[in-house]
Symmetry: C2
Subunit: 491 residues, 2 copies
């Protein structure tokens, strides 16, 4: 039976999406602001989610032949002079180290010992990694070089928001060098598909894989591929990108190798990354007015067991039964017994807000009847009673159902908040009326009349890989084209 | 049969330990210097070793109830004003961010947009983590708080050396807060023992667990516990430390909680860490004149299989047999078949220099006879021939023997390079004669006459946990004492 009840959070998505987002994060204890402008603290529960994501991606990267490395945090600022587009894209947002000592002066600490060449904190590592790769390759036999690093990067953002846009963030950056254009393009697309798989199949988020228009590419890239994901408010999140860099960066750092014909050639490089931003996307995709929701792939706990010490059974008997439940579960199930000295109802709501799929409450009744009493996070918090044995044998299926609901919700949101438009007027009307959503429309690919979109705060998110090839007129220029693009507001 | 042969490296430990150390690193492809002063690039093979170390430690930390988090890279410099000893210890070596933009000026990039409060790059995170913890605790029910982070830190070292002392390094830093002094001291000692276990039992390195003398403590700590490890040249490496911080840092950041009696109390905190420095220690403990050696616990590969395409069997038949070997091995064995287009002899020597315990060469003969021909890295590179089945069933034992040899060598080095001294003259004579080694001697614990040691470049490494309680006179002051300390040169 469905129970009419108050929401666990004080604000709903409908009332104030942005405030709701903050409350989900606070109540699930994912992260908090630090005393340093734009930098957040990722708390244990938030970090456990990121760690689970890391494990899944890291295994996949390794399976595909990539090796992890570590490159310096610092980049001498004169190295940026080598790639004009790249520096133009990043110069405005770099933290710069100019000194290497602190000294007491008039009772206050001040920077001392200035550096000859100031150092930027990496905003991304194409140049510094490229410098090393250039030393690692002599002939085509040394290629491909396939590496990745998990690290922190800094981009001095003016407006920050937890997970989505922070001054410092964590990410992985893959960097590869290849003998031929074809191989590098193949790598770019392979990693693009890995991200599609991760975001859609593993995280159960909405995903449109596509190519960025020229004016939205990574600074210095030939092609940028993106996963655009619709959030519940109908805005788009650029969730991961994969870049084909051509020979641009190879030329900047003189990355050459002896080709099969004996000639000296510049390598073709790629880079690709996904960051803690995806945690923000996950929150905005699945959470509801009771807090966070998580797909089973990355949920720190699938099941939390809360002992209720009351009734005819002793504390010890109840605890024994809780342990029996935990040890009876299949090995792939992450279960946790919470014995903290906190009222059981408080615990239960804390775990609901943390998005634990199944919160079990175990008291004397359950011990006697050999049952499990549990709340399903995704069925309007309905509570169920199952024989222990039945619960154990059906847990995988229960989690499947849980994931299925997440998938369906995301699909439903996309259906409700996306249209196809055949003219700019139609697109404009949609955004003026709704302030959200994805519009698919013909676009011929030029830079002309993009300012029409600026006025609506809408951008071209991507040219989807999956094209309908339906002929029409570009909604911005009127040119005939079969190409379609996705137009949306974005994070 | 032992083969008389040249060493794989161009320089021996005896000839030039420091040059030899560099060559082990270069030839095993562990790391290289970057273009940034004092910062190194950790290459795939070196990083794989670090990752294996991380996994073992991370599991142990979690087993003991710690949770991973992530805290900002930046620390506002005025936060350091709160802990006088701490800043005195770190001020001279901190990288300071003063600007957050680059601008073109006369064709050159220069820092622009200066920060109101400059930011230090974390040299360690007691203060910034303490600030958060202070917000997380209201009452004793919220304690203990047990957290850890894996991250990069920066200490602007003047003289750097790969792994051992680099401007930026990777580490884990555990930070915990407790209700009572007793609990915090217990945590400090527990983590100290975890490091002892890791260094001695897992890495098979030499380890003396002990307490740092007053003048060698972590800046701001009450007690610092250390693992001192003798390297092959007889010098000591401080391999990991665990600090009891008392209420010093709690007071600096106002970390208070409501105690059981209702009063407001400052928490007792600890911190403990181990860094990529341990990779340097591992190299100096086990490597020989043929290059690196690794205990099986963290070796990226236990076995490398090199196919030799010659003789009556086809390439495919030989490869099939190599795959059969790999898939027949127990799941815990990390095996790799190297099919790169490189002469087999070059491959073999590359893996010997990388410290792979068993390098197998598989050609037609082995396929026909169903055998394995392999080189034991630790038996003077002797080569053995075993029936495949026998190799498979004895591989765990072979690795045990391999580890045993590492252990015995380390023990032997310690025996050869350590003495007990009953007077300062005796200690002096030893260091003047040998320039290396550990001296155990009575020491009463005061700061008096420490300058006698300075002249010898010797320091008191630790007061070992294991004390013989033999009465004697302090070799520095002549006071009667039963306390013993370890005196040595160090990295």
């Amino acid at each position: 039976m469905a129970i009419k009840r108050n929401n666990a959070l004080s604000v709903t998505r409908r009332e104030d999406f942005s405030k709701w987002y903050q409350e989900v994060i606070t109540e699930a204890e994912l992260a908090e602001n630090s005393s340093i402008r734009g930098c957040m603290v990722i708390k244990p529960y938030g970090f456990a989610i990121w760690e689970n994501m890391q494990n899944i991606l890291d295994n996949k990267f390794k399976e595909l032949g990539h090796h992890n490395c570590y490159f310096p945090l610092f980049i001498p600022i004169n190295l940026f002079e080598k790639e004009a587009e790249h520096i133009a894209g990043f110069a405005k947002e770099m933290a710069i180290v100019t000194h290497h000592r602190l000294e007491q002066k008039d009772g206050k600490l001040v920077p001392a010992a200035s550096l000859e060449v100031p150092l930027a904190i990496r905003p991304t590592s194409e140049l510094i990694i490229g410098e090393s790769m250039a030393n690692w390759m002599k002939s085509y036999r040394d290629l491909p070089i396939l590496i990745n690093q998990w690290c922190n990067v800094v981009r001095w953002e003016m407006r920050t928001r937890m997970f989505l846009r922070t001054t410092e963030f964590l990410w992985q950056e893959g960097h590869t060098a290849h003998e031929t254009k074809k191989e590098a393009e193949y790598e770019t697309k392979t990693m693009h598909e890995v991200y599609r798989w991760f975001i859609q199949d593993i995280l159960k988020m909405h995903a449109i894989p596509g190519k960025k228009p020229e004016h939205e590419k990574f600074p210095g890239a030939i092609d940028t591929f993106t996963i655009e994901s619709m959030m519940q408010d109908g805005k788009s999140l650029q969730a991961a990108t994969s870049h084909y860099l051509g020979q641009n960066f190879a030329k900047a750092v003189n990355m050459q190798f002896q080709a099969r014909d004996g000639s000296l050639q510049f390598a073709h490089t790629t880079s690709w990354g996904i960051s803690t931003r995806i945690v923000g996307g996950l929150i905005m995709s699945h959470s509801d007015d009771d807090g966070l929701n998580l797909p089973s792939s990355i949920a720190p706990y699938h099941i939390v067991i809360i002992p209720l010490f009351k009734g005819e059974k002793t504390q010890q008997e109840i605890l024994e039964y809780c342990k029996k439940i935990k040890t009876s579960l299949p090995k792939n199930i992450r279960a946790f017994i919470d014995i903290k000295d906190v009222p059981p109802q408080d615990k239960k709501w804390a775990y609901i807000k943390k998005g634990v799929p199944f919160v079990c409450e175990i008291g004397s009744k359950e011990v006697i009847e050999n049952t499990i009493f549990f709340t399903k996070r995704l069925s309007n918090l309905e509570r169920f009673n199952l024989k222990l044995e039945e619960f154990i044998t059906s847990i995988d299926e229960l989690l499947e159902q849980h994931n299925k609901i997440l998938e369906e919700r995301v699909l439903q949101t996309y259906k409700e908040k996306s249209i196809t438009a055949s003219s700019f007027e139609e697109l404009k009307e949609f955004f003026v009326e709704h302030d959200f959503g994805f519009v698919t429309a013909n676009w011929a690919g030029s830079k002309n009349n993009l300012e029409l979109l600026d006025n609506l705060s809408v951008t071209i998110r991507c040219i989807p890989l999956l094209q309908n090839n339906s002929p029409g007129n570009c909604i911005l220029t009127g040119e005939k084209t079969t190409m379609e693009a996705i137009f949306a507001k974005s994070y």
